[in-house]
Amino acid sequence: MLILSRRPGESLTIGDNIVVTVVSINGNQIRLGIEAPREVRVLRDEIYKALREENQAAANTEEQKRRMEDAFKRLRQGGGKDAGE
């Protein structure tokens, strides 16, 4: 891991179009400003990881697709929430 020291107000540049600025430091909390192109997703790491894991848990392979349709059918019979109109 590359480690750099920066002071509040100073920035670093990643590639050609991502700039991370140290906005302020208050105790053990650091506020960062991030400039990035719109298509670059900026997330808190723990949020990103949790969502990635959930997506992976939700992903079905071709072999599991039948399982998916079975679940849909069972949910209709099993008193799950029906589509409310």
Binding site: A36, R41, E69, A83
Partner: protein, 163 residues
């Protein structure tokens, strides 16, 4: 403060102050039975999965179902989706200008949100991801996974009917 990233924009915008908030599933009827969609940046954890076919689930007996399937055309991958409206929730997607831009939408009302269902056994354990909705623009065939931090990641599909 510095970023114009749509995720950041959404994060900072309280939903109830968002004039253009797309009511959940409001335009879902405009989602055709079957449509190909492009997710230009993929889905979180699946950055290479960009081309999908969205299909409404049709039980063999011809009845209505709240479910959709999203099949990836780039790899062996599919997701079960559900319309937030089917859950009876007041679910709102903060629609920033950046979001509209990213999906080439002229107005928030043109967008539809669908939620990813995580299938588990037994079915009582099945959850719906309210935190990472798939927001799509049926008109442009574009979609993306938005992140709305204040919604739960695992919301039980089947709510206890007690009470």
């Amino acid at each position: 403060m510095l970023s114009n990233d749509y995720v950041k924009a959404a994060e900072k915008m309280p939903v109830n102050e968002c004039a253009g908030a797309a009511r959940s599933g409001k335009t879902l009827d405009s989602v055709v039975e079957e449509q190909q969609l492009l997710f230009p940046v993929g889905i979180l954890g699946f950055p290479e999965s960009r081309h999908f076919r969205l299909q409404r689930f049709r039980p063999e007996d011809g009845s209505e179902s709240p479910f959709f399937t999203l099949n990836c055309l780039d790899q062996n991958l599919s997701f079960a989706l559900i319309s937030p409206r089917s859950l009876g929730l007041d679910y709102q997607v903060p629609a920033s200008d950046a979001l509209l831009d990213a999906l080439s939408a002229s107005a928030a009302e043109k967008l539809a949100a669908l939620l990813i269902v995580t299938l588990r056994e037994p079915i009582a354990d099945i959850t719906v991801n309210l935190q990472g909705p798939l927001v799509i623009n049926p008109a442009s065939s574009l979609g993306l996974q938005l992140v709305i931090e204040h919604y739960p990641l695992r919301y039980p599909l089947i709510q206890d009917s007690a009470g």
